[in-house]
């Protein structure tokens, strides 16, 4: 049971998460996203085997972003009705403002946790296969993406090598952002030129093995859907309803 989220069908997981995010976008009180965020953590705790240290590392920037949302909403809020709950210098913060600010920052945390839950429990290749098998993604695109994924280490290596070669010629090592951007352009051109060549070779190799981009009649690795997916989707939906209706049960 501990690895249920890892075994969940990736497309189903993807859809469930998307529905949750779009529904949450309609709520502007602090409790809905907070309850939902807590719920996501509980789900993750019971049904996944993720490394929490890694999770925390990935979450760190989102905590920062969440704080950014908090203070900007306080300062730049549109609706400043309601009683003043807080005042710093000459800034009067009303109840509505505070609620909106908390809501948006909890929303950032809820969305980020949800995305991380997906990223940390989903095998990328399985996800692509599932998109093709369950959501009818065109094999041309699916395998096109797959090839890109296989080239990642090769291209990363090339990036480092080009950087080294440029350093030898006395370019690179720029400090400010604008110079760095120009430096990136110099590395980009050889990398893209190489990518054009590699893309043709890879595409030809696939076609030479009879790949035409048409739908496949059978798969070696079948990505299935089952009871587990129904159960987990129900859990997600239950959590969603629970957090959206907190008014009734939280009072």
């Amino acid at each position: 049971m501990k690895n249920a989220l890892h075994r969940m069908n990736p497309s189903v997981k993807f859809l469930a998460i998307t529905i949750c995010m779009f529904t949450m976008a309609f709520f502007f009180d602090p409790w809905t996203p907070l309850v939902f965020w807590a719920g996501v953590l509980v789900l993750q705790f019971f049904f996944s085997e993720i490394n929490w240290k890694r999770w925390l590392l990935f979450m760190l920037p989102f905590f920062v972003t969440s704080f950014g949302y908090f203070w900007t909403t306080l300062v730049f809020a549109e609706d400043s009705s309601g009683s003043v709950v807080w005042s710093i210098w000459n800034l009067q913060i009303t109840e509505t403002q505070l609620n909106h600010a908390l809501s948006l920052s909890f929303r950032v945390l809820a969305f980020s946790s949800l995305s991380l839950l997906f990223a940390l429990t989903t095998n990328p290749v399985t996800f692509i296969l599932s998109l093709m098998q369950q959501l009818r993604l065109s094999p041309k695109i699916a395998y096109g993406v797959m090839v890109g994924y296989q080239f990642l280490p090769v291209l990363k290596d090339e990036f480092v090598q080009i950087g080294q070669a440029h350093r030898l010629r006395g370019a690179g090592g720029e400090k400010n952002t604008l110079q760095r951007l120009l430096g990136v352009r110099r590395i980009l051109i050889p990398m893209l030129a190489g990518a054009v060549r590699k893309a043709e070779r890879a595409a030809f190799a696939m076609e030479a093995r009879g790949f035409t981009g048409e739908r496949r009649s059978s798969y070696f690795r079948v990505i299935s859907m089952g009871k587990l997916d129904i159960a987990l989707v129900s859990l997600f939906l239950f959590l969603l309803v629970l957090s959206c209706t907190h008014i009734w049960w939280l009072g």
Partner: protein, 193 residues
């Protein structure tokens, strides 16, 4: 639509997405974590970098759908590379791609000059902003703040994606490696005419 696409064109988009993915990963995002303190506006000025792939691909391949398909592939690649924002990127990729695609479609895929590319960047900016407005809950912000964010994003889309995209693609064209793609043929045609 996909029938008329050569496999090498699709794989090209995918590898371009990987190249840009590496650049984002190793270069631009390191050390940028703390920018989040400034709030949602912090990333606006650099937002155009996300649209650059779709503009470069459309400028090179010049077939209906090139902007949407490439931006979607780019987002999928980001997910595969382990981007923590994950599934949200796929949807925003489609939305951004549609923004650029709408501009190219309006010219009936006949014009690919600098103005059209900049407009395509603006298209992506606007579409992605509407999407972000909804998901990020920007409606609680004052109109002035929202207008400022949109303004910066449009500028970034036009400059980084439009002008930057054209510069990169023209630089690539000059290397002679794009032989056999629509961009090379059209340049020759222009030269003859």
């Amino acid at each position: 639509m996909l029938k008329s696409w050569k496999l090498k064109e699709i794989v090209l988009m995918s590898l371009f997405a990987v190249v840009f993915g590496i650049v984002y990963l190793l270069f631009l995002h390191v050390g940028n974590i703390w920018a989040g303190f400034i709030g949602p506006i912090a990333y606006e000025w650099i937002f155009g970098i996300w649209f650059i792939v779709s503009i470069i691909c459309m400028y090179i391949i010049r077939k209906p759908g090139a902007a949407v398909v490439s931006e979607t592939i780019a987002a999928a690649i980001e997910v595969l590379l382990g981007n923590a924002v994950g599934p949200r990127l796929i949807l925003s990729g489609i939305v951004q791609g549609l923004g650029a695609e709408a501009v190219f479609a309006a010219t009936r895929y006949k014009r690919f000059d600098l103005w059209v590319l900049m407009l395509a960047g603006v298209g992506s900016s606007i579409f992605s902003f509407v999407y972000g407005y909804f998901l990020g809950g920007f409606s609680v912000y004052s109109t002035g703040y929202v207008a400022l964010m949109l303004g910066i994003r449009i500028l970034s889309g036009a400059m980084i994606a439009g002008i930057g995209g054209k510069a990169v693609a023209d630089g690539l064209l000059a290397t002679g490696s794009l032989r056999g793609y629509a961009i090379s043929r059209s340049k020759k045609g222009e030269a003859r005419a």
